[in-house]
Amino acid sequence: MAKSITPDLEEDLVDFTSFSHRPNQLIPILQHFQSQKGYISQAAVNQIAEMLGISEAQVYGVASFYTQFRFEKPGDHLVRVCMGTACHVQGGEILSEEIQKIIGIRPGEISQDRKFELHEVACLGCCAQAPVVEIDGKIHGKVTRKKLNQILEGL
């Protein structure tokens, strides 16, 4: 059954020409889509399912299995607090609570003005600099309450 393609997806289809349209390409295709659009929309799930000849449930099943994929439009500033073991030992949880207090949202949430989005992540791999916070792709090490306030105020 041919479905009509929404205009913003046509662009992505062009980009997909470098992928072979086989189900084993599902994860790279989802990653590519997310890197272009910022998140996996319902339209994306439909589109990818049709392209690969698999069900939408299969696409969603795979996408929801992995923590990388998101189904909501991202906030302006992405704050990721590391919950790795080294960070935990060095007070990562306290740091996360402090961030929640400052920006007023809980992990997994986006602030109402869409300025901040907060996530707790498994490990950013900078364990020797624990505790670590990543803001908009930049990793900050040995974060103290003071340093945290300075960074967040600067946004």
Binding site: A86, C126, G141
Partner: protein, 635 residues
């Protein structure tokens, strides 16, 4: 072959003229993720700016991680005719000062230097110690980390000039039998943590029948608190590629796949660059170096799932499915990616292979102890003074790592977690255990991929167990019941104990659940997920009991199970704690004893962090009259 040799000649010349005998100062800066997190990019900008201001031409070489991450950002300067001199914990201002001194006054500023890369006579002349004589580095042996922090990981010529790809060429000349014999003699075992003999794994895949075979590098380093693979790839990506190339040739595969973790963008970027360089050198593609061997490498980025470190789950993920493990056999060596024989090795295992091929199995075998040969990298983190990436021979006692290399802990040592979230917490009485696959297992832990997280008395063991089981609970794929339900049972009981609602039979229930998980789970995740709980129950039972019977967390972590007091003999009345307290619970004038109102205190820990005198301590909550009466009624 000619193409490779001419590339190698050029690389050697370049290395000699630009690095070894440079006529302009060479400045090295560690810009792996750990360096960047410490502020290396700001330092880089400062170096560029200062050199321009001073009107001096310098060569800036961005290198990877040299190991002692606690000293980051690390900037080295090699003045013409002098060895590299390291300056550590460099800030923007410090970099400026050092550069001015070196470039303008030709003064190495020994008082600011930490170490140098030259020989003893340079130490005598300058008073600067050798970098590799620092207490953290001296006991280490660098086989895998040989190039890390030493070469520019984005410049393949640097790798070539340091014996790069000679191991592969040797195998290409001598044939697969040489490689297998060398691996066997070396005694190399899987560095992902399972410790399966590498030669055996290769042999199985080589002997498996199939037209198409694959070799996969498992770079899905999912252990929280571990970063060995990230550091290796970011600092020396070609070593891993060479290992993969050798593996491909030996088992007869034409396709190599690197399954890299999504959270490591810099590692992926450097791998891509290195693969392109490899192609330029004529070491990738059809009929490599005129042999019959054709090989290509592609990168697959993981999408974030810890269980994908398990090889059958990894294959499922490669095939575009949910990363759920399946029962083995068949093993991947027989039926792996796309149903074809597939060899899956950990990044570190592959990174070790080139050195073994170059120098031979006998050479590698000299390191370590019988049955556990060679060296292993660990990420030494947590409450030790010297944190970072280390490499030691297997068989090294934990004590030497924690106390000598790590420089010990500020507060009293409590435990070291080995083997990541599926490993175990070992206490002071286990510190003399040598790190070998078997000894770790016998102590109720595992070797794992190499995370060593050190805890002191400010870490609560029950909270750590809850943390690890919480991780396993989230990462359990849900496929088999023992793991799915078992992690939930353990997590619920631990949460209950931490809330102060623990009951004596909780411990028994946890033992039972753990036992079932070990015996009946489908894959390694479920079988080992209870390790942190059982090992901590074994070695720290009294701490659990204090939480359950006395409702007391001596580490001051579990909220409600302690209260803070200010020790009069320690408080010097500096007012810092009063200033940071968000609840106004601390009162006190300058140079006078401060007081803390427990009714206002939210136990946010801010005061403890700022108190240099460690005057704020956790004590048990006094049992209230009501509580006492209640327990009398109940008993």
């Amino acid at each position: 072959m000619n193409r490779f040799h001419s590339c190698r000649q050029q690389a050697l010349q370049k290395w000699d003229s630009q690095i070894l005998h440079s006529d302009i100062p060479v400045i090295y800066l560690g810009t792996a993720s750990c360096g960047i997190a410490a502020g290396a990019l700001d330092v880089l900008e400062s170096i560029q700016q200062t050199a321009a201001e001073l009107g001096r031409t310098v060569r800036i070489v961005q290198v990877g991680c040299i190991g002692p991450c606690y000293l980051e950002p690390i900037m080295d300067i090699a003045m013409p005719g002098s060895p590299r001199v390291s300056y550590t914990n460099v800030t923007v201002q410090k970099a400026k000062k050092i550069l001015k001194s070196c470039l303008v006054n030709n003064d190495l500023a020994p008082q600011m230097a930490t170490g140098h890369f030259g020989d003893e006579s340079f130490s005598v002349k300058t008073g600067i110690p050798r970098f590799f004589d620092l207490p953290m580095l001296k006991p280490q042996i660098r086989v895998i980390l040989k190039n890390c922090g030493y070469i520019d990981p984005e410049d393949g010529d640097h790798y070539l000039a340091n014996d790069g790809y000679l191991g592969f060429l040797k195998v290409l000349e001598e044939g697969p039998a040489y490689a297998l014999a060398a691996l066997k003699e070396a005694g190399l075992r899987g560095r992902g943590g399972a410790g399966f003999p590498t030669f055996k794994k290769w042999e199985l895949c080589r002997d498996a029948r199939g037209e198409q075979k694959y070799v996969v590098c498992n770079a899905d380093e999912g252990d929280p608190g571990a970063f060995m693979n990230r550091a290796l790839i970011e600092s020396d990506p070609h070593a891993v590629l060479e290992g993969l190339l050798i593996a491909g040739f030996v088992v007869g595969a034409s396709q190599g796949i690197i399954y890299a973790r999504a959270e490591y963008p810099l590692a992926v970027k450097r791998l891509r660059k290195a693969i392109a360089q490899l192609r330029d050198y004529g070491l990738l593609g059809d009929k490599i170096c005129g042999s019959g061997f054709s090989f290509d490498i592609l990168i697959k980025e993981g999408a974030g799932a810890f269980v994908c470190g398990e090889e059958t789950a990894l294959i499922a993920s490669l095939e575009g499915r949910r990363g759920m493990p399946r029962p083995r056999p068949p093993f991947p060596s027989e039926k792996g990616y796309n149903g074809c024989p597939t060899l899956i090795n950990n990044t570190e295992t592959l990174g070790t292979v080139p050195a073994i091929m170059r120098s031979g199995g006998e050479w590698y075998q000299q390191f370590g102890v019988t049955g556990n040969h060679g060296t292993k990298t660990f990420s030494l983190v947590g409450k030790v003074r010297n944190t970072g990436l280390i490499e030691v021979p297997l068989g090294t006692p934990l004590r030497q790592i924690v106390e000598e290399i790590g420089g010990g802990t500020e507060l009293a040592f409590k435990a070291v977690q080995t083997g990541g979230p599926l490993g175990g917490c070992l206490g002071p009485s286990q510190l003399d255990t040598p790190i070998t696959y078997e000894a770790m297992r016998d102590q109720g832990s595992i070797m794992g991929s190499g995370g060593l997280i050190v805890m002191d008395e400010s870490t609560c063991i029950v909270d750590m167990a809850r943390y690890f089981i919480g991780f396993a609970l989230r990462e359990s794929c849900g496929n088999c019941t023992p793991c799915r339900i078992g992690t939930r049972v353990l997590s619920d009981r631990l949460e209950k104990i931490i809330r102060g609602e623990g009951e004596p039979d909780d411990l028994e229930m946890m033992h039972k659940a753990a036992d079932t998980m070990v015996k009946t789970s489908l894959c390694g995740l479920g079988q080992a997920a209870s390790n942190p709980v059982t090992s901590s129950l074994n070695y720290f039972q009294s701490e659990y009991e204090a939480h359950i019977h006395d409702r007391y967390c001596a580490s001051g972590v579990c909220k409600g199970l302690f209260q803070y007091i200010i020790l009069p003999e320690s408080c010097n009345g500096c007012t810092l704690c009063a200033k940071v307290c968000p609840a106004n619970a601390i009162q006190g004038k300058l140079k006078e004893l401060h007081t803390l109102d427990v009714n206002l205190c939210t136990q946010c820990h801010a005061c403890v962090e700022v108190c240099a005198k460690r005057a704020i301590v956790a004590v048990p909550v006094p049992a209230s009259q009501d509580h006492l009466q209640m327990s009398e009624v109940l008993s």
